[in-house]
Point group: C2
Chain length 393, copies 2
């Protein structure tokens, strides 16, 4: 899950696995959401902010099937195929799955037309994604995720553009740099630091996946995972020392002239020039859970630290070649619907969900109905919304 | 499938079941669609026409999970659970399915809050629906369907409102009554005519399902189905005689004073008063394949008769009680995305799919990039869409 890992938690904390009782006969499938009109209006306010921002930033919207082949998801590098995927077979025995994230589908669509599309391209989507979890803590099993991707661009201006758009969407929703910040790190810088420390590069992806678990598991457990990867005690000590570097200047001292460090400097410069520098913080401990990231990575959090990541992403230059396409640099992010709505609610900035009806036309008796109908028809023809009473009032 | 039954056919006619070859490695799952940006813009033009019409008519938008419980789909009356449903189990062994239509989910949501919602309510949704078909003729396995429903209203003004909205959406897309017409029948009128002929009422639902197959199978095969239902040769002859009634006046003569006939008259009157009378044709042979319809039913077709139904629906007063809620009158329709797009294309009225970008800002060398970035930031802040070049040109 690109933007928010793990998936959102629902309100229904503590639901067990065994209460498929009469009470739940009219509930949606476990972990999934109904959107009654007032829920829909809140969701639509968020989707509109996403969509309008993507438009302003020049992203083109696309979509892919909510069902993907298991084959595609299995071809993705660096991670075992998750047990948390909703997988099933069609009647010909083909493996299918409800997509856990949109990026593999994006990569598939790009590769399918890699010879015909014009690059760099900037694509945007709002995709429902699914994850099967045992409902021990009432977690949700689906969420919507806004995806922004720039494909075919090496320059770090690509990172600046997706970050700028995601931050602008949050500002459009009423949040400022006092409410949230984006932590920016770099796997390429980490790789450089580790290499300088003599840690074998073939351990790098597994090492990132282990380090991404920090905070969820203890540092001792992380050390255990590193040991399992063949990273000795002394090397592990150096790994944690690197992660403790607090500023880009500290990194400069250790990796002078490194292009990945230069990219980070450039990104902070671009952010300042594009007007969102105050939202970015350097943080080398940002790693991201997905195996496919290769360069700059980032995660946005509320400043109070109450919620999981609002959005997250980074550079993934090898995914297309891993899946069988030509190598092509990519930058992208995922931005889920649940955390941001929780944050907005907590800050008293939840979108208004009043019904936006312009006219309601009623009538006292059947003879006046004909006039009411004509009024309604005229209003609607003029672009005014009108609810016509269906019976005399 | 409520609006278009059967599901849309794809362009890929003649695909066999066995070509999961390298050529298809980057294709979407069989029968499902990718939406590249130009495809997405066409789809968005249709969705916008649907959504704006729903807004003008005072419908509130809602949504339900794309995954439903098999239990809900099995509770639906009058039809066996289709073999064409994408069904699977979650890891707790619960039966789930990709929804084949939205109406059961709507009914579930209404029943869950039947004591709290205000009726009548007018709800609208755009829902992706799925159907598993063996791909002998390249049929699609998913489509999007616009749903309009009015719940809690006995009056035939409910039918007039959903029909008026669907017709207005087609007019908004550039079509007129020369391009399409809506055939309006009534299962309640048919039931009255059959009862007057002495045909046992318990056969009625099965009879409707058999008669709905006319055109797909020969009248002799329909007679065979009727015989299997216990409808004798003489009664079958009378059934076909009823279906040959060409005008509402012919029906008047046989069912004088019948309230279902009066409802049809009222609907045609309302349509005239609301300004869409010229779109409606009386046609008693319109039956609809779904078991749950109880009263007026309708289907829209292109006047040239080249395509399947554009939209279809009717009154279903018993579905909520069948599923375990309180009885409540309902009227609804489903309007799929595929047939209308084929019709628009055939008439040269396909929506424009040009990219709506307002500005593109480039720069000749790295030093000018900073100014270009500031220009882009200013344009976007002012609500103008802008694609910023990611490298010097």
């Amino acid at each position: 899950m690109r933007g928010n890992s793990p998936l959102p938690q629902g309100e229904g904390q503590g639901e067990g696995e065994l209460n498929a009782s009469a009470m739940h006969t009219f509930a949606p499938p476990r972990g999934m959401r109904d959107f009654y009109p007032e829920d829909f209006r809140a969701r639509d306010a968020l989707f509109s902010a996403w969509r309008e921002t993507a438009r302003l930033w020049g992203f083109e919207e696309y979509d892919a099937p909510v069902v993907e082949t298991l084959d595609l998801l299995e071809r993705k590098a660096g991670e075992e195929i998750s047990e948390q995927i909703y997988a099933f077979q069609d009647k010909s025995g083909r493996g299918l799955a409800l997509r856990p994230e949109l990026t593999p589908s994006l990569a598939r669509m790009i590769i399918a037309r890699q010879g015909a599309l014009s690059f760099p391209l900037k694509w945007s989507a709002i995709a429902q994604c699914f994850r099967y979890e045992r409902m021990t803590r009432g977690r949700k099993r689906e969420h919507y995720q806004w995806n922004l991707d720039i494909v075919g661009e090496e320059s770090v201006l690509a990172e600046a553009e997706v970050l700028g758009a995601a931050i602008a969407a949050l500002r459009r929703l009423g949040l400022s740099h006092e409410d949230f910040r984006v932590r920016v790190g770099s796997r390429a810088v980490l790789a450089g630091l580790f290499a300088r420390s003599g840690i074998a590069p073939e351990h790098f992806t597994a090492l990132c996946l282990a380090l991404d678990k920090r905070g969820k598991i203890s540092d001792d457990q992380v050390r255990e995972l590193l040991r399992a990867e063949g990273v000795g005690e002394a090397d592990a000590g150096r790994v944690f020392e690197m992660l403790a570097l607090r500023s880009l200047e500290d990194v400069d001292g250790r990796l002078a002239g490194d292009s990945a460090v230069a990219d980070l400097h450039t990104l902070f410069d671009h952010a300042r020039d594009l007007g969102f520098g105050q939202y970015l913080d350097f943080d080398l401990t940002v790693i991201r859970g997905l195996g496919y990231y290769t360069g700059i990575v980032f995660e946005a959090f509320d400043t109070a630290g109450r919620f999981r990541a609002i959005f997250g992403g980074g550079r993934y230059d090898n995914l297309l070649s891993t899946l069988g396409g030509e190598r092509m640099p990519c930058v992208g992010l995922g931005f889920g619907d649940v955390v941001v709505m929780e944050l907005l609610a907590q800050l008293g900035k939840a979108p208004a969900t009043a019904r936006g009806l312009e006219y309601a036309v009623g009538y006292m008796d059947e003879p006046s109905r004909n006039l009411a109908m004509q009024v309604a028809a005229r209003l609607r023809a003029g672009g005014e919304s009108c609810d016509l009473a269906l019976a005399a009032e």
